[in-house]
Amino acid sequence: MNWKFQSLLVFLVVLAGAFNGRAAGEAAFREGVTHYEAGQFEPAAQAFRKSLAEQAAAGTLLNLGLAEWRRGQPGEAILAWEQSAWLNPLAADAHRNLSFARETLQVNPLELTWCEQTSTWLPASWWTWIAGGSLWLAVAMVTLPGFFRMRKAGWHQTLAALALGIFLSSLPPNLGVFTRAGIGIVTGKDATLRLTPTQAAETLASLPVGEPVHRLRTRGDYLFVHTQYGNGWVARRHVNFICPK
């Protein structure tokens, strides 16, 4: 067997695995929809989670949030809708559900910086492609005509300037994606904001389920977070992050 045949075989196996995972994810998604429509919210949530284990999808997360909300897990529901909006901020349903849930639970969204606000306009990974693509396009437009002995045309310069402008404009949203990755949702009950990272520390505030927190740093099993109640330490087990690492 020569190396070309071996490479082709490996490629086909990987491709088959990817298709198989995608098919399994869609089967679990359909199973979740069936359970949900039958009013069986817990099995529906399990099926949507199974689907997400195969493939992260905005629609699956939206449905997971609905199932969690219906079975009385508002923190998990808000987390799922936040993740759905994180994957596809252009879809209105997740935002609508978040507004409704926050109004019902009386929790406020975290105040985002302008960088973070702009990063919500497009899916997080798109900003990377925009920044990378525009940067290298600008570099290519400046250098390639020289390399390939092409006459430098006005459109080369225009395209390079345009690409550079897009690149510079995409830097703040990329920074916003980095900082927004530290946003989490309180999903555990009895979450308390403490003065120091110890179990017996003085309580600053009780964090309601669904409350957004911004991780500033970590120490042991505690996170130092920024909340609308101020800064403090919260047990790690009470918080789940929109962008899990």
């Binding site: 998604f29 994180w86 179990q199």
Partner: protein, 603 residues
């Protein structure tokens, strides 16, 4: 007599909160703070307080470090005698001036008891401070059955609560007291904190006072710290307090009642603790909750709502004011969410502050709802469900805000489309919870992971690939330009390549005994290796041209002769009708290769 004593820094602190400081002001404030000295050698003290106790009586083994609390690592087990019970209790740090320099002093308390009389020594042991080994000195506790009177027991904070059996969400008062003793005059307690799980202390309701309190039949001036605590989880709560004695330094206003002499002098900061207190927190009963319960626990009533005006126009906002009255903890009440009803758009309530009570009506909290009538058909504001839990009766109380009659006029300035738009945002579909979206029928936008590309560790490497490509292009272009300016390098390189090819053919011809081919390849190789020196096309060179490349000695020696032989034989083969016998030239292969090697070296 009531005297309100306030401390300068406290008022300064209040003054600072009136305006939001700018970043420059913050920088000035930070710069104005005293520099904390952490560079000096760490000093450690260890002692028992009191050092002389009866059997079974509590004493505190107290270790202090001249370092921050987090930097101190004490061993899990203190090397104490086996008959001496020693349990870690509380720890804390505060800032003290040592020789005029602010230092952070950390204190670690251990509860100790000995059942039998004797002298118990905790030997010196090692602790780690700032990653350095520090010796904690030995300390001695003497336990005697008979002690000389008067004997003062261990000094502790006294914790009292207004209730020990409460419901979740039911606030209760907590009082922490430090009475004066024969050896210790009355003094304040700083950095006071309540320890435990499952409750929330209210910092906004703290009151500090000094008054004479009778305890165990004797009156003594006592420092009292009061606040309120709200349990947030059901079960048994262990509540305890800790704080540093602070002399006459109080972290806020203090009310002094009666004739009390206040000592002067520098305070001694000693970490004190209280015995824990167990609070039984019962869960709120489930199953019979009333609509609109937002967690209000207490004895509350709701006044009749007040509407700014009863004559409304469609689309015109109006304010509905609701007052909830109760004895205390009014700032804890969350207003009920407005219902979704047809014909009205209602915004969630805003807090309107607290009102003091007078006469029969107690204090109250004001909530203001903004309502917009969307139709001229409505005749009253909607009822807003609200309820509270009364812990004294252990049942939920209905406090629903009743409807208020209104008269709504149609507004001609609003079009039908505007009204339809306003209604669509508020309309409720039967059997479906308003506001939630429908189920997604397809997984939709997919991604490999929730973690975006830029947060993956391999992302910078991927970005390096285009950079490497452009670098490669740049090097290629630079090299090309260089070669364009130095064509002789290209010619020599081509000559070397062609020479290697000819040498291969030469070897083949020699191996097969093809003398004519050998001569042809030999001449061709000589021409190729000589051409870059002129420069010229290799086939245009003649024997003389090749000889010019050789040195005079080579030209007149064997090398020159060999070259001539090969060119002569080649010319004969090319221009004579009968080719001569060139078999003898095969024997000159080694000298030919030598000449070619010399000429190649001159390229």
């Amino acid at each position: 007599m009531i005297l309100v004593l306030s401390v300068g820094p406290a008022w300064v602190a209040y003054g600072q909160t009136q305006g939001v400081p700018t970043p420059d002001q913050l920088a000035q404030i930070i710069k104005a703070q005293p520099v904390v000295d952490v560079s000096a050698p760490v000093t450690v003290t260890a002692s028992f307080d009191p050092p002389l106790v009866r059997p079974g009586e509590k004493s505190i083994y107290r270790v202090t470090f001249d370092a921050t609390e987090v930097s101190v690592q004490l061993p899990d087990q203190i090397p104490a005698p086996p008959s001496l019970e020693l349990h870690r209790s509380v720890s804390g740090q505060n800032m003290q001036a040592v020789n005029g320099v602010p230092r952070i002093i950390s204190t670690f308390n251990y509860d100790t008891r000995a059942a039998q009389p004797g002298v118990f020594t905790v030997p010196q042991f090692m602790a780690v401070v700032y990653d350095r080994q520090i010796v904690v000195p030995a300390a001695q506790l003497e336990v005697k059955a008979e002690l000389p009177e008067p004997h003062e027991p261990v000094r502790q904070l006294r914790l009292q609560t207004s209730a020990t059996n409460v419901f979740v969400g039911e606030p209760f008062n907590v009082s922490v007291r430090l009475p004066a003793t024969a050896n210790h005059p009355v003094e304040g307690v700083g950095q006071l904190q309540l320890n435990g799980e499952g409750f929330m202390a209210d910092k906004n309701t703290v009151r500090q006072s000094i008054q004479t309190v009778e305890q165990n039949g004797a009156k003594a001036p006592t420092f009292i710290y009061e606040t309120s605590v709200t349990p947030i989880s059901a079960g048994l709560i262990e509540l305890s307090a800790q704080g540093f004695t602070s002399g006459m330094q109080f972290g806020g206003p203090v009310i002094i009642t009666g004739q009390i002499s206040l000592p002067s002098g520098q305070p001694t900061f000693v970490l004190l603790e209280s015995e824990p207190l167990t609070i039984n927190v019962r869960p709120l009963p489930t199953g019979n909750e009333l609509p609109g319960f937002t967690g209000a626990v207490g004895s509350y009533t709701c006044d009749l709502p007040g509407l700014a005006t009863n004559m409304l126009k469609v689309g015109e906002p109006v304010q509905l004011t609701v007052v909830v009255r109760g004895p205390q903890y009014l700032n804890r009440i969350s207003p009920p969410l407005p219902p979704t009803v047809e014909g009205w758009q209602i915004f969630p309530a805003e807090r309107g502050g607290l009102i003091a009570g007078a006469g029969a009506s107690g204090p109250g909290a004001i909530f203001k709802y903004t309502l917009i009538p969307l139709s001229a058909e409505v005749r009253a504001t909607p009822a807003i469900p609200f309820s509270s839990f009364d812990p004294t009766r252990a049942q939920y109380v209905n406090l629903t805000i009743p409807p208020v009659p209104v008269s709504v006029m149609a507004d001609e300035t609003l079009t039908n489309a505007d009204t339809a738009l306003m209604l669509s945002g508020n309309a409720s579909e039967p059997g479906k919870k308003p506001g939630l979206s429908g189920l997604a029928k397809t997984p939709g936008h997919t991604a490999g992971s929730l973690v975006p590309l830029q947060l993956h560790a391999w992302f910078p490497l991927i970005q390096a690939l285009p950079a490497l490509g452009f670098c490669g292009l740049w090097f290629w272009d630079r090299r090309r330009r260089y070669l364009e300016q130095h064509p002789e390098i290209v010619r020599r390189r081509q000559a070397r390549r062609a020479l290697r090819r000819e040498m291969r053919f030469l070897e083949q011809a020699a191996a097969t005994g093809d003398a004519a081919g050998f001569v042809h390849r030999a001449v061709s190789a000589l021409q190729i290796v000589s051409a870059p020196h002129y420069p010229a096309t290799p086939r245009a060179l003649v024997c003389g041209d090749v000889l010019q490349i050789l040195t005079v000695s080579e030209r007149e020696g064997n090398s020159g002769a060999t070259v001539r032989h090969f060119f002569t034989a080649a010319d004969a083969a090319a221009f004579s009708e009968g080719a001569g016998n060139n078999a003898g030239l095969l024997a000159e292969k080694s000298s030919l290769k030598e000449i070619l090697a010399q000429l190649e070296a001159r390229l």
